[in-house]
Symmetry: C2
DNA sequence: TATTGTTATACTCTATAACTATA
DNA sequence: TATAGTTATAGAGTATAACAATA
């Protein structure tokens, strides 16, 4: 079996293999930054798994959603909205256009710019991904617990907005 | 589906005034996965800034900490602990050894393996990074609020551990 | 045969800077 | 001069597969 190592770290809490020496994470174990990264990675990987089942890439999801909700958005606006440089967006849009999910139209009043819209196929794909995302979300909700969810998301939002 | 245009539309010959059209994030705005990613990115970038001031890479921090807290750890154990393939670790360890922060010693009882330890310089660097990390953490704590912190971190841990 | 760590290779995501074509 | 988008290029970070040395 060529699958190499196990993906998950044993964080020393569980009753794992008796032969497994527990790893000491030191102060990392209690720090927000580290646990934020661990949780994000786990979440991303799970969603990645879901969207692979659709034949899609999780990174495309937010882009499709932003185009769908903001029809005619221009690439520069899109790059600002997703916090990436415009040059990072070029290959992404190119891929979506090539695969027939997004169409670009020249803007008459400013012939440097394009407006982006989803095609019918793009809407179909977005719908499939949205369904997968909702399933994923239900999974996260179950772990977080319905009572804590609002406050948890609110804290995440404040972190994203207020970190120095 | 379009949320807004509550401001004047941007179309046609506005004389250079960049009208700030609010972006509609749709369901993304309320989903855990998306906000987890946003918060993690902001946190990582802030810590990245801190560690750049030391001349270090944030990605090295966890590695140094794990070696420090688990002296003599082997590369395979380290890769399992950080959830990465062993081949991903090779260039990292190589870099740390080259810069004199980590030393590798052959294991007598198993001459395929190495044991990793920090050098004095490695301990010094880790101490500096730890100081930066504590500062970063205080920053995060301030945003989260002392009352919510324990529960917040606990939820992150559960997410990392329990996502399918 | 199985495992430790390296190598070769490739893919994703990201950025900076120079470029083009407009404005 | 300034802006929209592309191209060229580079760098991190990650993975799979094949490999040599050793178990």
């Amino acid at each position: 079996m060529r699958k190499s190592d196990s993906k998950k770290a044993d964080r020393g809490g569980g009753s794992g293999e008796a032969t497994m020496k527990p790893i000491d994470f030191g102060p990392l174990a209690t720090w927000v930054g580290f646990n934020l990264r661990m949780a994000q990675e786990a979440s991303f990987q799970a969603f990645s798994h879901h969207s692979a089942a659709i034949g899609e890439n999780p990174g495309r999801f937010a882009t499709l959603m932003l185009i769908a909700r903001n029809p005619g958005i221009r690439q520069t606006e899109l790059s600002a909205a997703s916090g990436r440089d415009k040059s990072s967006l070029t290959p992404v849009v190119e891929d979506l256009v090539r695969r027939g999910l997004v169409e670009r139209k020249r803007v008459d009043s400013d012939r440097r710019a394009y407006r982006l819209n989803l095609t019918a196929a793009g809407r179909k794909t977005l719908a499939l991904m949205t369904r997968a995302a909702r399933k994923h979300e239900r999974n996260l909700d179950r772990i977080i617990g319905p009572r804590d969810k609002k406050r948890f998301v609110d804290t995440l939002k404040r972190l994203a907005a207020e970190i120095e």
